[in-house]
């Protein structure tokens, strides 16, 4: 009887070691496999060349104030006096009066930068906290130059698993971009930036280019 008991103990220990080794090996392999197959950090973004400016970005975002905001590509902007992104279509005067502005929240800011022989040139910037992402300025600007467009701002976006705006987007403009380059320029803006970055002394343009998604 003592022999049998001793044999059982050895077998038990051997089996225990085998099981422990198998579990350890499986866990290790699984961990390594998991590390390799771990999904990238992806962020929601919209493709401005597909965006129709429907207005859903303003109303569908789960945040009270949408994470989508208008941005300006200054290289595409004409610095015009009569900006169709700034002025209401039925404007009475070319000035900054609220009734003459297209933006419902006054988030597009106009600043005189130059006057030459009676022709005035203005810079248009976005007052981001005021912008609700409705895209009215985007549509107005698209009538002429299309330098204004929408982007998901990642200092605000909570990166929902299922983005409520993406679900309702009528032109399927939303997709996920790598976390390290979560912004997508308009195709024309990207081409201009790449052209500029290729020139000498354009470190700022090159640094900016590294932060944007380049398909």
């Amino acid at each position: 009887m003592a022999l049998i008991a001793s044999a059982d103990r050895r077998r038990f220990l051997r089996d225990a070691i085998r099981v422990t080794s198998a579990v350890t090996l499986g866990t290790g392999v699984g961990f390594l496999a998991g590390q390799r197959g771990r999904p990238q950090d992806l962020r929601w973004q919209l493709d401005p060349d597909k965006c129709v400016g429907c207005g859903n970005c303003a109303t569908k975002c789960v945040l009270d104030e949408s994470a989508v905001k208008a941005v300006q590509c200054f290289d595409m902007c004409g610095y015009c006096d009569i900006c169709t992104g700034y002025l209401a279509t039925d404007y009475q005067q070319v000035d900054t009066a609220a009734e003459n502005q297209l933006c419902p929240t006054g988030a597009l800011v106009r600043r005189l930068i130059e006057e030459q022989a009676g022709q005035r040139f203005y810079e248009y910037t976005i007052d981001t906290p005021l912008c609700i992402g409705c895209g009215v300025c985007v549509k107005g600007c698209a009538l002429m130059n299309g330098s204004l467009y929408l982007q998901v701002m990642h200092d605000r976006c909570v990166n929902c698993n299922e983005c409520a705006i993406a679900v309702s987007c009528p032109s399927r403009a939303f997709d996920r971009l790598p976390g390290e380059t979560p912004y997508r320029l308009k195709r024309q803006a990207l081409a201009l930036l790449q052209q500029k970055a290729a020139g000498p002394g354009q470190d700022a343009a090159r640094a900016f280019l590294e932060q944007v998604y380049q398909p």
């Binding site: 109303t59 004409g78 009569i82 169709t84 279509t89 409705c134 698209a142 009538l143 308009k186």
Partner: protein, 367 residues
């Protein structure tokens, strides 16, 4: 006389109690009526066109309905038909004095007869941006001048390359060419100047240098639309689109006159930079084509609006289609040309057709 049996005969004053079946019939009728009312309400509120699908308030929408509407009485032309362009990506259009057309696109120029038949395809060394036809006194086209991204080439009507101009400057963007019997006029949106060249490309005169002392700001071009046509009397008509006006220059570069005003009204030019294209009728009147809200209009020789050739509706665009922010739809404009018989030709790049508009017989009253 025996009294009536009050237990069996109903009292005249007593209301007739309806049968139980009649009550349920009335209930069913009421339910059906309510259902019909709800159905009718739902039907009238049904969002058949998806206009309320986004639930976006009207104040967050851009409504161009008013600007897109051109009163029917203001339109003085009717579309007579259309011709094929015979190129996949048409970019520019010229009408020859003999009534045929030259359409630049892809990497060629298609010579198209007045009935749409392809007469010839002239191959080019690079994709064209714009072109001009040089005709002799009899109206026969002797050569074509075609501008690409890097060069201007001169080709014969049979397609032989007769000459190439020097390579363009890096910032050059040639948007229009015009021809006199002895000169080729080049509109360069990149350099914001008009150059008057000889047929070999040698620059003889530059127009557009800003001169604040003479109150000349130069050409203001927020977008690459910069057209030029030649007048009959050694003059050039240049579109200063950022100032929404047409300027007349002598061949020596002197500004002689101008007309045009910025306005979203029919009589003015809409937005930051219009008109996008310009053509001249045989009698000296002007045909303008605007982008943003596509409107093709005829102005008198002194710049008064005479009539409308086509508005967005006539061009097949409704107010919703105008407000399309997608990259490919931004700043759409229709090139225009004029046939010797007065027909206005409109290059529809989307349909790849040249649409032919003829004047209506009745009056032209844009007001």
């Amino acid at each position: 006389m025996a009294e009536p049996n009050r237990q069996t005969a109903p009292d005249a004053a007593e209301a007739v109690r309806p049968a139980a079946g009649w009550v349920s019939g009335r209930m069913a009728g009421a339910v059906v009526a309510v259902a019909l009312a709800v159905g009718a309400y739902a039907l009238t509120r049904l969002d058949s066109w998806g206009e309320q699908a986004t639930s976006v308030p009207a104040r967050l929408q851009l409504d161009l309905g008013a600007q897109a509407q051109v009163p029917a009485e203001a339109i003085g032309y009717t579309e007579q038909g259309s011709l094929p362009t015979h190129v996949e990506e048409p970019r520019a259009l010229v009408a020859a004095p003999d009534g045929t057309l030259y359409v630049a696109g892809d990497q060629a120029v298609a010579h198209v007869a007045a009935d749409g038949v392809l007469l010839a395809t002239l191959a080019l060394p690079e994709p064209p941006r714009c072109l001009a036809a040089l005709a002799d006194a009899a109206g026969t086209v002797e050569r074509l001048v075609v501008a690409g991204d890097r060069r201007v080439v001169v080709v014969s009507p049979t397609g032989a390359v007769l000459g190439q101009w020097p390579e363009l400057a890096e910032k050059s963007v040639i948007t229009a060419l015009a021809a006199t019997p002895h000169h080729v006029v080049v509109a360069d949106a990149g350099l914001r100047e008009v150059r008057i060249c000889d047929l070999a490309g040698t620059v003889q005169q530059r127009i557009g240098t800003p001169d604040p002392d003479r109150n000349m700001p130069g050409f203001v071009l927020p977008s690459p639309y910069f057209d030029v046509v030649c007048g009959d009397d050694e003059t050039l008509w240049v579109v200063n689109s950022g100032m929404r006006r047409i300027e007349c220059y002598s061949l020596s570069g002197e500004l002689q006159s101008m007309w045009g005003e910025a306005s979203s009204d029919l009589a003015g030019f809409f937005g930051c930079c219009n008109p996008a294209h310009l053509a001249r009728l045989p009698d000296g009147r002007f045909v303008t084509s605007e982008k943003g809200i596509p409107r093709i209009k005829v102005f008198s020789a002194i710049g008064e609006l005479e009539t409308v050739v086509a508005g967005p509706r006539e061009l097949g665009l409704n107010a919703t289609a105008l407000v399309d922010a997608r990259g490919d739809a931004v700043g759409r404009a229709y090139d225009v040309a004029v046939r010797p018989d007065g027909a206005v030709l409109v290059l529809d790049t989307k349909q790849r057709r040249v649409r032919v508009f003829q004047p209506r017989a009745e009056g032209r009253d844009p007001t």
